[in-house]
Structure formats: C-alpha cells, structure tokens
C-alpha cells in the first residue's frame, strides 16, 4: 500500500491514528469497508472532509452487525444525531471502541449507553426488560423477564433508587472480566 493512497492527507491519517486504536493500514481497510457500503454515496477523496452519512439500513446490514440484536442501538449511540446514520468518523469511532485494545472504562461507558434504550442516562427496569427480551428473542415469559430484571437491580443497584447509574454499571463490569472479550467486534 505504501504512501500512494489519495483518500486522506497525511495529517488526517495521523490524526485518525492518534485518536483511535487502529494503525494506518487498518484505518484504510476500514475506510474501504465503509465505502463498500454505499459506493455511489461515499467519495474516494476525504481530504475536504465531506459531510456524508451512510443510512442506518446499510450499516445494519454489515455482516458484523446484521445478526446482532442490539445493532440499532449501537448505530444510534455512535451516530452523530442519534438516528443511526453514520459518518466516517462515527464508523471509525464505533469500531475503535469495539476493538480489542479499547480500555474497559471506555467500553463500559458505551455499553451503558447502548443498553439505555430510552436515553435517560439510567438503565431502568424498562431498559432491562428490553435488553432481556432481545437477548432471549422474546422466549422468556413476562414473569420470568420481570424476575430477572428484579434480580439484576438487586445485585447491581448500589444506591437503591431502582435503576442503574453509570457508576453502578461500571462497578458491575469490573467484576466481570469476560466483558472485555465479549464486548468486542472483530473487523
């Protein structure tokens, strides 16, 4: 590949490299993946910072995301306006956070936002019900779902206000060393 790419300026690539967990080669690879989603929409020249967004439907059809029950939330959390349509920056950000090298705190922050369905910065019982339903494809009975949510709140809610704050969530994540390996998308 060398230095022959004309998509980004050298400074742009440097900036991307410093702000994400990817190397230059990986950033170029990710750019081509992004471009493949909508070849007629994405220009091959990003030196002028074009303001282009790939619609959510195309993002959600990526092989890494299409069978994930949380793909809509992931796209919403990382997109600029919360609607799921992603710019290249959002795209890189998303895969950078979901990569192997992102630290636990960063992943926990974004995982919290993903599981917070109503965007009120707390994971309340309704959010938990949504999460559990998607995790089990709706095959648990309502009583079981509410029992599970109750137990989760019992275990993780530190200040007993009936919902999980970011600190509660981070505290719980600390006790789960598997989190780093499961909250990981390989691209």
């Amino acid at each position: 590949m060398g230095n022959k790419q004309t998509v980004f300026t050298h400074e742009q690539l440097e900036a991307y490299q410093d702000c994400t967990f990817f190397t230059r080669k990986e950033i170029m690879r990710l750019f081509y993946r992004y471009q493949d989603l909508a070849p007629q929409l994405i220009p091959l020249d990003y030196t002028t910072y074009p303001n282009v967004k790939v619609p959510y439907e195309l993002i959600g059809s990526m092989p890494e995301l299409k069978d994930n029950p949380f793909r809509q939330r992931i796209a919403q959390v990382f997109s600029e306006d919360g609607d799921g349509h992603m710019t290249l920056d959002n795209f890189l950000d998303m895969f950078s956070v979901m990569s192997e090298m992102a630290p636990r705190d960063l992943k926990a922050y974004y995982a919290f936002k993903i599981y917070d369905f109503n965007n009120d910065d707390y994971i309340c019982a309704w959010d938990l019900e949504q999460t559990v339903t998607r995790l089990t494809r709706g095959e648990l009975s309502a009583q079981e779902v509410s029992l599970v949510c109750e137990k989760v709140l019992d275990e993780a809610d530190g200040d007993h206000d009936g919902r999980l704050s970011l600190e509660d969530f981070q505290n719980m994540i600390l006790r789960a060393p598997d989190f780093l390996s499961t909250f990981h998308i390989r691209i």
């Binding site: 991307y16 410093d18 309704w126 206000d161 969530f169 060393p177 598997d178 989190f179």
Partner: protein, 787 residues
Amino acid sequence: MAFVLNVPETPDDWSQEPSPYDEDEVHHSFHQLIQEQSQWVGASGSEAGLQLTPGPAALLTVVDGDHQAGPGPEGAPAYSAATLRILASMPSRTIGRSRGAIISQYYNRTMQLRRCGRRPLLGAEGRGARPSLRSLDLELDPTAREEEEKRALLVTELQGLTGAQQDQLLRGMPLSLAEKRCLRQESRTPSGKQRGWQAQRGVWSCCSRLKYGCVLAFHNLGLGLLSGLSALTPWRYTLKRIGGQFGSSVLSYFLFLKTLLVSNALLLLPLLAFIVGVQAAFPPDPRGPAPTFTGLELLTGAGYFTHTVMYYGYYSNFTLNQPCTHPPDGAQCTPGAGDLPYNMPLAYLFTMGAIFFTTGITLVYSMSRSFGESYRVGSTLGIHAITVFCSWDYKVTQKWASRLQQDNLRTQLKELLAEWQLRQRPRSVCGRLRRAAVLLLVWFLCLATVLGCAVGVYTFSELMIQSPVATGQEVGLLVLPLVVSLANLLVPYLYRLLATLERHESPVLEVYVAVCRNLLLKAILLGILCYHWLGRRVGALKGQCWEDFVGQELYRFVVMDFIFTLLDTLFGELVWRLVSEKKSRSRRKPEFDIAGNLLQLIYGQTLTWLGVLFCPLLPAVQVLKLLLLFYVKKTSLMANCQAPRRPWLASHMSTVFLTLLCFPSFLGAAVFLCSAIWQVKPSSTCGPFQTLDTMYEAGKVWVRHLQRAGPRVSWLPWVYHYLLENTFLIFLVSALLLAVIYLNIQVVKGQRKVICLLKEQISNEGEDKMFLINKLHSVYEKKERSR
C-alpha cells in the same frame, strides 16, 4: 439558563421547545416528564396546557421510601415542575453524559495524572464535574461558557503531556472522534505547546515523567511488536471465523493452542543453537552400523533415529573442537587461532536448566497476570447482572450462531432462576442425604476407576520390563503408549456418563468437577510412568543406554497422543454427528468439548517437557503436532460441532487452565528433570555425562576447574559454594515468599472490608438523596398551595 433555588414565576422558558440533544438546556429526559406534569397541572386549571410528548415513561421511585418503578403518568409521582427542573440539573445527571462534564472529568484526571496523584488543595479545587456539598454555591451551571473554560484548561493540560501520553488519554476518552481531533489539533499547535511547557515545567515531577515514560515506551514497544506479529500471524481470519460462529469460549481453545505452539517454537531455538546445531557440526564416531530406515521409526522413534541428534546418547561427553589432546609427555600445547572449544556436557546441562528456568518464570508471570485480570474481590456475586450485560458475545456474526446464543442465554437465565428458586426452598433432610449418597457413590466409582487404571498400567509396565522386546519386534514397544492413551481416551467418557447421575446446580461447578477428575487420572498415570522410567528402567537397562530408551518412550507417547486425539476427533465428533443426524430428527450436532480438549493439550505439553532432557528435538515434534492439530480440529469443528450450551466463563477458565499448565504440569516436569539431574546415575556407555555420578557433577567439575583457573574468577566458585550448595539461602527465600503471600492475603481481606463499607455508604447516600428530593417536593407543594 441558570437554575437557582428561587423558582421562576412564569413558565416562559417552555415556549421554545429545546432540542433533545442540546445539552445546554434542561436534560431532555426530564423534558418529557416536565411537560407531562405541566399538562397535568394545567388540566387542573393552574397553567396553560402544553402538548404532551408521547414516549417511554421516565421512571422515578415513588415517595414514602418504597422503591417501586412506576411506569406511566398514572403511577408517576406528582413532583412539581420546579422540583423536576432542579432534579434535572443534579450533578449525577450530568456526570459522564454531557460533553462539558466529560471534559471536566478528564481535565481533573489529567491534572491528577501529572501531579503524581497529589491531592489538590481543598480551597483551590475548582468546580469539578461533581461538586460536593463543600462548595455550597448551588448555582449549578452547565452552560456553554463553562464548557469552553474547561475545554481550554483541558487543552492546556494536554499540551503539558508528551505525545504518547496525550494519545493514550485521547483514545480513552468517551468523546466523539471529531471532538478528539479538535482537541488534538488544539493541543498540538506549536505556540500552544511552548506555552504549555513553560507554564507546567515547574509542576512536573521527575519520577512521574520517568514512570510514564517507561510505561509508555514499553506499551509502544509492545504495540509495535504485536502489530508486527499480527501481520505475521497466518490465522487471523480463521480465528475471526471461529469466534464469529462459535463464540469466545471455543476461540479460547484455539488461542491456547496457538500460544503453546509459539512457546514450543521459542523453546526450540536455544536447543537448536546450543546443543543440536553444535553437535551436528561435530558428529561423533559412529558406534556401529546404522540401521536402515523403515517407516516404523516415525512411530517408535527407535531404529534409524537412535543414533542421531534426536536422542541424548548421540551427544559427546568431552569438549568439542579441542585443538589438541594432552600430549603424553606433559608439554603445553598452544591452541591455534580461531579454535573455540565447546564443553558439550556443560552446554547440555546449562541449556536445559536455562530453558526450564525461563519457561517457569514466564508461566508464573502470565499466570499471575491472568489471575489478576480475571478474579476480583466479590466477583462471584451478581451473576444475573453479569449474565444479562456481559454474556452477549458481539463477535458472533452468523444468523444461526446468533440464534444459538440467544437459545443458550435463555436456557442460562431459566437455570439461574430455577437455581435461585430452589435455594429459596431448602431441601428436606431426606433429599440432602440422598444427594450426598449419590455424590459419594459417583466419586467412589471415579476414584476406583483411576486406581484400576493405575494398577493396570503399573503391572503392564512391569510386564514390559520382565519380557523385553526383541530387536525385530519393535511394534511391541508401542503397546504401553497405546494402553495409556486408550485409558486417557475412554475413561473421560465414563466420567461424563457418571456425571449425568449427579445433577449439579451450577453448570460451572460441573465443568470444574469434570476437569478435576480428568486431571487426577492423567496425573496419576504420568506419575506411575515417571517412576517406571526413572526408578525401574534405569535398573533394568544397566549397561545400556537407558536415557535413549526413555527419550524414545516419550517420543512414542507424544506420537500416540496425537494419533488418539485424531481418533477422538473422528469418532467423538464426526461419527457422533452422522449417527445423531440419522437417528434423531433434531439435527443436534455434538458439542465441542472445550475442557477435555484443553486438558489433552496440557497433557501433550507435559510429555514434551518431560522428554526434552532425553530427546532435545521433541519440541520440534510437538510443534509439528500442534500445527497439524490446529487444522484438523478447525475442520472438524466447522463441519461437525456446535458451541457448548453451558456457559463457559472464558476469562476464568483461561486462568484455570493456565494454572493447570503451570502447577501440576510444569511443576511435575521440573521435579522429573531435577531428580534426573540430581539423583539418577547417568548411563556409562552413552551421552554427555557418561563418566559422572550424576548429571549435576558436570557443573561441579567445572567449578573445580574454575577454582584452579586462578583468583580472577574466584567469585564464581564462592557464589556456587555459599549460595547454591548452601541450603540456608533456599530457606530464606521460602520464608520471604511466605511472608509476602501472607501480607497479600491480609491486604485482600482489608480491601474486602473497605468495599463493604463503601457499598453501605453508597446505599445511605441514596437514601439521603431520596429524603432530600421528597423534602424539596413538599416545600414546593406547600409553596404552590399557599399561592
């Protein structure tokens, strides 16, 4: 908009609906509720009605201290709009969420980072992201102006760090990429950097700079090596496919296999460089006519391979490349230029010692690091929360794999609930007795099987000694490895059968019990074999080269292990799948048995470590075997298996298996090596230690030689006599180790207590908060009523 305790009289601020993502305004989650409340109040006639925004109900806990989550406006507590506006600007609503708060938080962190963690003066503490009650100035103000201030301060702080530190901090911030690029841009402007340097130099401390410099240098070196290695690794895409279809649990087996492959390859390097390569360059005189190569050598290791670099017996017991032998009249001989004498026995001993020492240190280090990452104080609590939030594997990419994961999670959650409900209802005494009886019976059967296998192997080995194999009938040599491998293959299936009788409550416990039994079997069999080799064979093969024989035995065991693993894959996975497809309509593929396969890898590695002393090329055989195994297992997995249904805590299990690799496996091999070096008399007809009483004597001979050499190297014999031969040092080191372990245990106990206290404190603070909210609400209510 500033929020102070005085409530504005008119709701003029609601005429313009703020955008949900405009963080300068009231937090948008409360926006809905405030509107609903305003409408409710308006409906009862005191205010103009506003439009109701539909949406999921925000949940607040009800008054009276009962913690109910009440969805819907009917159940929502009737807090007044004014109360809600104040609640919306609570510090806990803004931490970690709004940009301004993140920037504040990171500004504080950066500052602490650079000041070596010195606590900032209380008075000088600015308005942080979470103002405590100390700063009773309740004008909480998340406006754009403050965000700009904090941002400028953060940029200044960033300029004070080195480039690598900046990058590390920037990457870890939960801001959007565009924001990070702006911050990076601003902090990299040259004039800014100059200003930053001048201003902050006084505050830097040398030690923090050095520490961070070192840490980041290593980090960058590690990253560089990793990226280089990952470019080299040929299996990146394969591992991604395996992870995508089967999840992290099955992936952990393949990662373990890859690690063993790399470590064996690294083990091979010093062996090739210092022992095999040198001896191959100076081949000894042939002891007799070399046997012809028949295909059987690949299985038995004997025959053609006997007098090659492969085995101990080939290696010379004198100094190679010695320029001249001592002339009989005692005259001195001067070595020619370019002659490097190479003391083969010493090299053999030292290389073996060095590789075992390095392997041991590496294993202990990686085990301790893995342990530190995967075990936390209080990590066994909160299994429901962890199952809900941390078990969905985002790596899974196929529809059927995703559905399977969902099914597994459903089953897991159902089992957890059932387990909990069972614990609510304590079992009757009769039930408990019955359960204890079943457990005892199963354990008795398992131990009896192990004992039976042990006795069988022992008698068989004695039989092999009594009736030695004739030279033409070398196939007979394969019988002992065959018997042992057969036992290792079939007995675990028996254990699985017995395990269905005892129904454990927790699936993790089942895995641990199965691993324990399997391990016991393998350890006892290997123990008997080691005794057979070092105890009985040495005596039986007096006058012959027993080390060669032991080396060949271990080669045979390694090869047999490989063959039986292939057979297991064939019958356990392929045939099972075919049979189950024909017989049952459910098309349920066999599960990949992760624990069994991992233990098999550990067993193979133990054999390699046991045999390295007698067969220096055994790691090469192991490397080849692991390479073939990777492809065979991968193919079989993709074609025949499905992911395990039971939860497999990958992180814990990796630690457990790494510990098993270190403790029974490596320790056993090290004990075997030590007894071979220190206690057994080497054979007098072959090998580098022919003329000595023990292999260790080569070292002693060398020390004596050094003593005679002169005063300049006298410290080496001194070190040898007073540190290595003297047992006092070992006692001292052991005592220190025990003290360190004890202190660590006390520290962990103390930490556990502190965690309990902090949890209580959080709970109390939560109650305080609810109390204050309710009081606030009652104040406003009174105010409303009195108006």
